[in-house]
Amino acid sequence: MKDNKKRFQIVDALLIVMMIAPLVAAMAIKVLTTPASEGISITGARILFTIPMPIQDLIISEAQVNSWLILITILGFCLFITHGLKEDKRDWRQMAAEWIVEKVDDLVHNSMENVFHDSYAPFIATILAISACSSLMSLFGVFPPTADVNVIAGWSILVFALITKNKLKAGIGNYAKGFLEPIPVMLPMNILSEFATPISMTFRHFGNVMSGTVIATLVAWALQNLSAMVLGWLPGFLGDVPFLQVGIPAILSVYFDIFSGCIQAYIFAMLTMLNVSGAYPAEAIAERLAKREERKAKAA
């Protein structure tokens, strides 16, 4: 028991630091890179530095750096709840880890039921965790990576690759034939709808998070002006303090950051599962297997 306690203090303290340090670093980057003269304004991700590259300069923006930092935080959290697992003696961390794994397995099992296996659970859990944590990052006052369209476009391209991989499982001929259904005239429409899936997924998530950011900024700006107008007569520095800005933006952020961010993470994961499992050509594969067995029976 004593030994346990000692180990808890050293390793876990390090892991907790690993969880919290990236958030502090993100806040520090935000404070250091924001020009002092800038008031409240609506901007995209700030460009931190550019790396010269042969074809096009590589731009490292706030969104990328913040998403790297959130990855470190999630990694720290995962290591924190999973290190030192024991079969017989469970503490609360192990319970939490088991609960998370069980819930994600259940979700994937219920949504991708047809032929699907639990091998998609880690991917879905990753998308859920990164998306939700990135959106919740705006609670700390830093730029949420999900408010940058490029970040989510990257995830959508991953999902698109998964969908195409699953469609190709019944052979390239079957995949190409799918574009000519129900009639060959529909070919351009089918190609268009193929690319519409990732684009709509991108803009759904991006638009929700960005609308929250924009509305919060507008409300903060309006409240600042209102308090300058109403309370501007107060003597000295009291007139400059925007009293009305206290509290009201927090209520808005409960909806836009917490509720909307978590719902969008859930929906992104849900749509990923539905699209990927819907792309699986179960009938074509079953036909193929049946034909193969027939051939085998004939040969025998």
């Binding site: 709509s200 991006f206 929700n208 609308s211 859930y266 929906i267």
Partner: protein, 99 residues
């Protein structure tokens, strides 16, 4: 002349954003109202299924909100991105024509 052109660009961008948001909000509003009304009916008929109905409804609402979000993205692009781009192309065109 240039001032008038820039004024027309700014005004049309603002007008377009307003119309876009106004028309784009009708569809999701009606759709979400329909979804919530039917969810209420379902809960009234079968109160024990409240949890499942509510979570499905929130999911459906968030998806039917998508078109409204597209309209919002276009409106924000029209307000914050389009004017600068259009004015830039205008001044460039005037420069090339003058030179």
């Amino acid at each position: 002349m240039l001032e008038i052109a820039i004024g027309i660009i700014l005004g049309c961008c603002a007008l377009g954003a307003g119309i876009c948001m106004g028309i784009g909000a009708i569809g999701p509003g009606v759709g979400e109202g329909h979804a919530v009304a039917n969810a209420c009916e379902a809960i009234g008929r079968q109160p024990e299924a409240k949890g499942a109905v509510t979570s499905t409804m929130i999911m459906g609402c968030a998806i039917s909100e998508t078109t409204g979000i597209y309209a919002l993205v276009i409106a924000i692009l029209l307000i914050f991105v389009a004017p600068g781009m259009l004015v830039n192309t205008l001044t460039k065109a005037i420069k090339t024509l003058g030179a």
